[in-house]
């Protein structure tokens, strides 16, 4: 694959659209299969047609909504503990608050691998 900035496969919206359409089609087929294939089931609600697709979809949506709501009272700034534990000054290799992105990747932060 390329190393430059030329358009890659996932950069083109039409490719994304094509993948998504295939994906939707597979999802539809999987639901339809429930009405064709006879599943052996252990439990009442497990045998309902569409139980697994619905449970998977609803479960994940609820998961994300609850997780987002948890952020309201659990999220703290990135240096929340460091201020107390490291006395405010960040040692090399610790990414404190907003400095992200401005540092060059090579900047002595290979996770302590340089030591001999």
């Amino acid at each position: 694959m390329s190393t430059g900035d030329k358009q890659d496969f996932f950069d083109k919206p039409e490719n994304i659209q094509r993948i998504l359409r295939t994906f939707y089609a597979i999802c539809a087929l999987l639901v339809l299969a429930d009405f064709v294939v006879h599943r052996h089931t252990e439990h009442g609600w497990e045998g309902l047609p569409g139980f697994y697709p619905l449970y998977g979809f609803a479960g994940c949506v609820i998961l994300v909504i609850i997780a987002k709501w948890m952020r309201k009272f659990l999220m703290r700034p990135e240096d929340y503990y460091d201020r107390l534990e490291l006395g405010g000054d960040a040692p090399s290799g610790v990414n404190v608050s907003t400095g992200a992105g401005s540092r060059s990747p090579e900047e002595g932060m290979r996770g302590g691998q340089e030591h001999v």
Partner: protein, 561 residues
């Protein structure tokens, strides 16, 4: 030869050797160890006695042999992954650490187990400290403290156990009306990252070096799973603990930014499946639990390796700073996706053939609600480990980073792990033949495959839908509060507040005392200073008047009496 000995000897050699001889020794050790273990097979040797207790250095049955093979494979993969590291400390302690894990699973008695239990803690903490920054140092201290606590509980439990049984043989213990069973249970539980004791894992693992985390993720928690499977199979409490462990970390994983910390939370989630299996305790459930432990070491190792590779080449690991790496790291991307598919239990990948055993056991034994929770956790795993990890690291928005593929040894290690994930997924009979209980189980039937695909595809559909509707929480640079807040924030601040209050009170008392002394001095001085009552020079006349007054008083008293 006891399986830990080759590793300890190799650690000594690694201390003095450099360059390719060291690499050769390190690669040879797990291979020779595997051959050694294969020849040993089931059996026991190495009996010795301490204080009238008969101890046993090596005792192997199918359960411990499975973990023995697993630890050799994991050590081989992790050693290859770390071959480029020029850090003697890391190389030596990783060998000692792997050896300690082997010593623990083949320990025939509790005291030998305790020794290796502590060695696991002492050796692994250096892998955290090897990152050599302030954060890693503090995280390592907390990690070490909790693991020493686990060791002390184990030792206490062993002492009571020895008093009650007059033998220290390591076998089924089971919870009962005695202190030792609970102490040992808790000791294993801390190492197994039970809820409320889980933060050492999410705290320390992501702070280790890219290679150190791969070692860490393989041994400690799996040794604890082995110990629980040996001593507490069929303990119902474990079913509920395991269901909690499978469920709550996925919420944290969704909002966590550090991708290796996401994997640490998902490691707890996978441990939950194993703990549920041990708690159910039927042969299918125990088989499922240990098979899942086997697979988890490999696919979780693969995921930690792929994220370690990203950290190694970009110097970053936060989801908010990564993205678009597939363009220049296609091999790492594909290997990561294999790991993600395995942990999500896609058919033909390793997670599928073991997780379904635990799920089947749960529903067959009437744990309907637990089964529903595990099903939710399965969907959640796919969501955060299966999609989030590869998506935010390699796809999502283009971060502009154009990093090259990691060194060849890292790619080789990841390829071995990915090949194992696929091999076990396609031909699970090889793994099943190693399991402790005989059983007939076929993971690949229409129902299993269809329902699992439905679950996974619709979890993915939820991700797509949430992303298109822009409802998916963005990756934000942040810290999320967890139980660790109690001992990282509340307790230190309470201590700090208490100490400050004591000092303030002390200061106030001292000031009051000094002020009291000062005012006493002032009042004394006020009588003695010039013109003070006692320093004034008196007139002779006033003295005569005083004497007359005194005599007058005597006269009056003389008349009165």
């Amino acid at each position: 030869m006891a399986p830990f000995i080759p590793f300890f000897v190799a650690a000594l050699l690694a201390m003095v050797l450099r360059g390719w001889p060291r690499a050769l020794v390190m690669i040879a050790v797990p291979l020779l160890g595997l051959a050694n273990l294969w020849m040993l097979g089931a059996g026991s040797f190495g009996a010795y006695s301490v204080l009238e207790f008969d101890l046993l250095l090596f005792r192997a049955d199918k359960l411990s042999l499975l973990f023995g093979y697993l630890f050799h494979v994991a050590a081989l993969i992790a050693i290859i992954y770390a071959l480029h590291v020029r850090d003697t400390l890391q190389q030596v302690v990783s060998l000692l650490y792997a050896g300690s894990a082997l010593g623990a699973v083949f320990a025939g008695d509790l005291l030998t187990l305790f020794i290796f239990w502590e060695l696991l803690a002492v050796t692994s903490v250096f892998l955290v400290w090897a990152r050599r920054n302030g954060r890693a140092y503090m995280a390592g201290l907390r990690y070490f403290t909790l693991h020493i606590l686990s060791g002390l509980l184990l030792l206490g439990g062993i002492i009571f156990y020895g008093q009650a049984h007059s033998t220290l043989s390591f076998g089924q213990i089971g919870l009962g009306d005695n202190a030792y069973s609970w102490m040992i249970f808790l000791a294993f539980g801390i190492k197994c990252a039970f809820p409320f004791f889980h933060n050492w894992l999410t705290d320390a693992y992501p702070e280790s070096t890219p290679t150190g985390t791969v070692f860490l993720s393989a041994f400690t928690t799996k040794a604890a799973v082995y110990a629980l499977a040996r001593a507490y199979p069929g303990t119902e409490l474990l079913v509920y603990i395991g269901a909690t462990m499978a469920c709550f970390p996925i919420f944290y994983a969704v909002i966590e930014n550090d991708l290796r910390r996401v994997l640490a939370y998902s490691l707890i989630n996978q441990l939950g499946f194993m703990v549920v299996g041990i708690g159910i305790g039927t042969s299918l459930a125990i088989n499922g639990a240990v098979a899942h432990a086997f697979n988890d070491v490999i696919f979780k190792g693969l995921l930690f390796m792929s994220m370690g590779a990203v950290l190694h080449v970009t110097g970053r690991i936060n989801g908010s700073e990564l993205g678009g790496l597939y363009k220049t790291m296609p091999k790492t991307t594909i290997l990561c996706i294999v790991g993600a598919a395995s942990i999500s239990a896609f058919p033909l990948f390793s997670g599928f053939v073991s997780k379904s055993m635990v799920m089947s056991a749960a529903i067959k034994n009437g744990y309907d609600w637990v089964w529903l929770i595990l099903l939710f956790a399965s969907a959640g795993v796919f969501h955060h480990a299966g999609i989030k990890i590869p998506y935010f690291a390699f796809f999502a928005h283009d971060s502009g980073i154009r990093a090259q593929e990691p060194p060849a040894n890292m790619l080789v290690a990841m390829t071995i792990a990915a090949a194992l994930c696929l091999a076990i997924g396609i031909y699970p009979q090889a793994l099943y033949s190693l399991l402790p209980h005989e059983m007939a189980y076929t993971p690949y039937d229409v129902t299993h495959v269809l329902t699992q695909l439905q679950l996974l595809f619709f979890s993915a559909l939820a991700f797509v839908w949430l992303n298109l509707r822009r409802l998916y929480p963005p990756e934000l640079p942040s810290v999320n509060l967890d139980v660790e807040w109690l001992y990282r924030r509340l307790f230190p601040q309470a201590v700090r507040g208490f100490v400050t209050a004591v000092f303030r009170l002390d200061g106030r008392a001292r000031r009051a005392a000094i002020a009291g002394v000062g005012s006493l001095m002032d009042s004394v001085a006020s009588h003695h200073k010039p013109d003070g009552v006692l320093a004034r020079s008196w007139l002779t006349g006033s003295m005569v008047a005083g004497v007359i007054l005194l005599l007058g008083v005597y006269l009056l008293l003389g008349f009165a009496l």
